[in-house]
């Protein structure tokens, strides 16, 4: 089956005064028609830049410097910009993180939904209006006829995000790129919006690339997930496999930094340090400086993506992935040393901040 969209070894660089920032360093991913995939990573890992590159809307002065993007098996990277944008905008839509800035503040929301059907698909005024109202109904906006005339600031965050989804659907896309669409919403509204996306995706057999920093949200929506770190995919696979048996220390740490209400109370694990400076080239694994399990060879050799499962459905970029079953044991050792340092610290007189322990 030809993938709806496939990215091969994508490279994006941002020229800066003090050197090129290698924002994306060889990302490959694919979405099948009707499939939902997730991209997970912390801020600055290159998730959003990847999406913008897929849409051909990189912020200046960022440039695609290598790799290819295939839409329905056709390489669109080499095409003239206007033809590429035409193909992309016909097939792909985007939903943004902040619905307040994603909507034109001085235009009625209904007009914003009707705009593409009217101006691009050539519908009549009444047909475009009817389509907008229909889309508003589909995304669960009560009294769509009345809300049609509202301005973005008159609607709540959840309503606005529904409007954004309706706008995204107005082009009849086959692939939706969602850049943290629920991050700006509170948890109950988040669940409702996720449900809207999921229902419509199933109904219309849409492909979905869902970018988030929240593995839990991605696991609800997506069947496969790519974990990005410092401009690379460090691990990818079926979401269930990854949650149960992650084979990259970064994914492992991400999973353990989420509070688990069922587990006995323990201190949340944080990942120490910051992502590396991408203007300098680093020898070895980019995660090594923050990795609890790194050894000497990790700092000399940049690990390639290797298959964990023989069919290649689960890959990881870690030299020591085979030691994963022991990571839990090892991190306990690390934790106990942390405990002991806390202990010695508390012996000192009058600590400024008291550490809440289990």
């Amino acid at each position: 089956m030809t993938a709806l969209m496939e990215v091969r070894d994508l490279q994006v660089e941002i020229p800066l005064p003090h050197g090129n920032l290698r924002a994306i360093r060889g990302v490959s991913l694919r979405v099948e028609p009707g499939e939902a995939i997730g991209i997970v990573g912390e801020s600055g890992s290159g998730k959003s830049i990847t999406l913008r590159a897929l849409l051909g809307l990189l912020p200046q002065p960022a440039k695609v410097t290598g790799g290819s993007i295939l839409l329905d098996g056709v390489d669109i990277t080499g095409m003239p910009a206007s033809r590429r944008q035409k193909l992309l905008t016909d097939a792909v839509s985007m939903v943004f993180q902040d619905s307040l800035t994603a909507l034109n503040p001085v235009m009625r929301v209904g007009e914003q939904i009707a705009e593409v059907p009217r101006r691009k698909l050539g519908m009549s005024r009444t047909a475009a209006h009817a389509r907008a109202v229909d889309l508003m109904e589909q995304v669960g906006i009560p009294e769509p006829e009345r809300r049609y005339r509202a301005y973005p600031h008159e609607l709540s965050g959840g309503m606005r995000q529904r409007i954004c989804i309706a706008i995204a659907l107005s082009t009849d896309p086959r692939l939706i790129l969602a850049d943290e669409p629920t991050t700006a919403l509170d948890v109950t509204i988040q669940a409702q919006v996720l449900e809207v996306i999921e229902t419509l995706r199933r109904e219309k057999q849409l492909g979905l690339i869902f970018v988030s920093h929240d593995l839990a949200v991605v696991s609800q929506t997506c069947s496969r997930v790519y974990v990005m770190y410092a401009g690379r995919v460090v691990e990818s696979g079926e979401i269930r496999t990854m949650l149960r048996d992650s084979r990259h220390p970064y994914t492992y740490a991400l999973l353990r930094s989420v509070p688990d209400p069922d587990a006995p109370v323990h201190r949340l694990i944080t990942i120490p340090g910051q992502p590396p400076d991408l203007t300098t080239t680093v020898d070895g694994c980019s995660f090594a400086p923050r990795c609890a399990f790194a050894v000497a060879e990790c700092t000399t050799q940049d690990p390639p993506l290797v298959p964990v499962l023989r069919d290649g459905s689960h890959v990881t970029a870690c030299l020591r992935w085979e030691t994963a079953p022991e990571w839990a044991e090892w991190s306990k050792l690390v934790e106990s040393t942390v405990e002991s340092t806390v202990h010695t610290a508390s012996k000192r007189p009058a600590p400024m901040v008291s550490v809440v322990k289990a």
Partner: protein
Amino acid sequence: MTTLTAKGPTVARAKRSRRRRRNVPLVAGLSLLALIVLAAIFAPLLTPWDPIQQDLVNARSAPGTPGHLLGTDALGRDVLSRLLYGARVDLRVGFLAVISPFIIGTVLGLVSGWFGGWIDWIIMRIVDVVIAFPFFVLVIAIVFALGAGTGSVYVAITLVGWVAYCRIVRGEVLVAKEQEYALAARASGLPTWRILFRHVLPNVVLQAVVYSMSDIVLTILALVTLGYLGLGVPPPTPDWGSMISDGQQFLLTQWYLATIPGLAVVITGLALALVADGLVERFGRR
């Protein structure tokens, strides 16, 4: 088709009522401006005198003289009628002369900010060149080259004035371009001109409108200056600039001859500044 419904209040009424709150500067500025405009329009009803009718016998009579509320000038012309008829000239030229630089500057600023690259480079270099000269030096030079008269004033103000609008709009576009609504519009594949004029322009034009208010004052001042230098409206047509320059030689004896039209300029400027403030309060962000 599945229909998903959401609960909760959606229309924020509080915001609406906040908008309705009285906007003091806007109301004050507009009323003052309306007063000036009405006075100019109904000048013939407010004063029986012809502004260019000379009466050398009653020259330089003081304000309050029966029949001449604000007195007469060196040639015996009624100061009040010259002031009112002068307002017609100055306001008309002030407003009209701002329109073409506003349009040209806004469009070039949109294009420059949106497309960037070499287009932006060329436009911004032209802007730099124009800005390198002091405003009045350039305006006076152009009017001098073209010959005195209102036509030359329009051309000169347009040639020099568009750069300010261009820079203001360009700066706003650079911000708006990275806003997600602009990205969303680009991602939906709408034609560029439509994105520019329907999505970007309405969101960036406010600053230019606000600036245009003070630009009208600046233009009236330029006209006054040109009139003072004998390059503006040709005599005997009344305008505030020539009134100030005519009254200047009597500053020690009849100080009001130069002061009254000067006050008219100040009050008009105040009205426009209040309108600008009010517009920001009404439509501005934050």
